[in-house]
């Protein structure tokens, strides 16, 4: 970690960019991890990766969940959807292979036709990739407001290790001029490499993972490089942040990432949702941030580092502003959705997630 960093490493917009509004969504059903263990292993063998995961209902998908999160973000932003210049949805479970999620979400929330509305794909960091693009659109002055969403109804093969955690949920962010924001995104930094840790081929229902690639060369390498390089370039240490949020495929990975970067358990506590909602893939870092904004105070700095397989991480430094106190009460908080909970068994889960073939 002694090499010199390139100049202008940080992505810093010309015009300061803020979070104007944010909104989360978690569906109501919960599948306890012990249920997956019961069906495939006759009960828990050793520790389970999480307590339970959130499962979308029969009538929910990335489009419907994005609509609700976006409506929450609009309520906090206090702007009309017509003012948006981009509606971007990042996900690895877009309902259509070809037909944008963004146009339907835009129409449902009342946005006008004068927008960018492409969908984003980068495994679990598709949402934060859209967030970086929104920073660019707003920060360059090309558009005043942009909506970036990370949302998933995550896939995991029945019986696979991922089935314990692959969950549904995510969050939406409206970016705009920093002076209107409830928080400022001071800068971001992304670190990527071609890493074969996890993939899903076209037409394949379930993803494959590259065994030992999942941990060290993929998740930990990219998260720690993105986080440490951002902090070095910014001249900060973990002590300068009130909170940190890391991509959370299970409970242990973000805890270890925090330790490696010098963060305490208390700093990641509000944003560590994977134990109770699972891994919401492209939604995971985004909803961890929404839960953190729900409790943050003006003046707090938050470090967010996402991770997407294939592989890469986006890191953001966020400074919470005065408007947070008033605006967070204008929509459902992340924990309100988590408190709405109906436990289901594996059979109901299999039906809700389309794992029972009827014809």
């Amino acid at each position: 970690m002694t090499q010199t960093l390139p100049e202008n490493l940080l992505l810093k917009p010309n015009r300061p960019v803020g979070i104007i509004g944010y909104g989360a969504y978690v569906p109501r059903y919960r599948l306890p991890a012990i249920e997956v263990a019961r069906v495939w292993h006759g009960g828990a063998r050793g520790g389970l990766p999480i307590k339970e995961k959130a499962v979308a209902g029969l009538d929910e998908d990335v489009i419907t969940m994005s609509i609700e999160a976006a409506r929450n973000a609009l309520a906090r932003a206090g702007i009309h959807a017509h003012a948006l210049r981009a509606v971007w949805v990042g996900s690895e479970s877009h309902p259509y292979a070809v037909k944008p999620s963004g146009t339907l979400v835009a129409e449902a929330i009342g946005a006008g036709p004068d927008i960018q509305a492409g969908d984003w794909e980068f495994a679990c960091k598709a949402g934060t990739e859209a967030l970086v693009a929104a920073m660019g659109l707003v920060g360059s002055g090309m558009g005043r407001y942009a909506l970036a969403i990370g949302m998933d109804t995550a896939q995991g093969r029945p019986g696979d290790a991922l089935e314990y955690t692959a969950a549904s949920g995510g969050a939406a962010y409206i970016l705009g001029p920093a002076e209107e924001g409830l928080a400022q995104i001071e800068f971001s930094y992304s670190y990527v490499s071609d890493t074969p840790d996890f993939w899903r081929r076209a037409h394949a229902r379930y993803p494959e993972h590259g065994q030992r690639f999942t941990g060290e060369p993929a998740y930990f390498k990219h998260i720690t490089e993105a986080g440490s390089r951002l902090m070095r370039a910014a001249g900060t240490t973990a002590a300068d942040y009130a909170y940190a949020v890391f991509h959370q495929p299970n409970t242990k990975f973000p805890q270890r990432a925090a330790l490696l970067l010098g963060f305490s358990e208390e700093q990641i506590a509000p944003g560590l949702l994977s134990p109770v909602i699972g891994n919401t893939y492209a939604g995971a870092a985004m909803i961890g941030l929404s839960a953190t904004l729900d409790v943050a105070k003006p003046g707090d700095r938050i470090l967010v580092v996402s991770f997407g397989s294939g592989a890469g991480s986006d890191a953001f430094q966020i400074l919470v502003g005065e408007a947070i106190e008033e605006r967070r009460n204008k929509a459902m908080r992340t924990q309100d959705y988590i408190a709405r909970r109906t436990e289901i068994d594996y059979a109901t889960y299999a039906r809700l997630r389309g794992k029972i073939t009827l014809k």
């Binding site: 209902g57 029969l58 009538d59 129409e107 449902a108 929509a331 908080r333 709405r340």
Partner: protein, 135 residues
């Protein structure tokens, strides 16, 4: 295939967009361009709040074609706070089930697919029990 119809009805279905009468201020859903209260022309779009109460309901065990994968489900007459009554599915019901007078709120959900798995996905309004929480 009913693609033209789904396209034509998308605004009212996705976001409960009806009309408001410029003469008597009556709120109209679904939009019909003529006010049912005063008979005047009414073409001004109006987005409903989505809040309402259950007026009556029934549970569907034998569903029409296209809805059969969702049985059993609940269909209700929902009295919107602005006045009109709409027929819609209820969703996200908990162990408490449904009661007449129960407060509900609109959500946009996947209603069905048009035909088989190659067909268009049809989205529209449903109502769910009001969630406790900040608002």
């Amino acid at each position: 295939m009913e693609v033209p119809r789904h396209w034509r009805l998308k605004q009212q279905r996705y976001a409960l967009v009806g009309e408001v009468c410029p003469h008597c201020e009556g709120k109209i859903f679904p939009p019909r361009d003529v006010c049912p209260h005063c008979g005047g022309e009414a073409k001004t779009p109006y987005t409903f709040s989505g809040k309402g109460t259950v007026y009556s309901y029934t549970i569907m065990h034998d569903a029409p074609a296209g809805y059969d994968e969702n049985v059993p489900y609940t269909v209700a007459l929902v009295k919107l706070e602005e006045g009109p009554m709409v027929t819609a599915q209820l969703t996200d019901l908990d162990e408490q089930g449904v009661q007449i007078g129960m407060p509900v709120e609109m959500v946009t959900r996947r209603i069905r697919q048009d035909g088989d798995e190659r067909g268009l996905l049809v989205y529209g309004y449903k109502f769910r029990p009001m969630i406790a929480g900040a608002r």
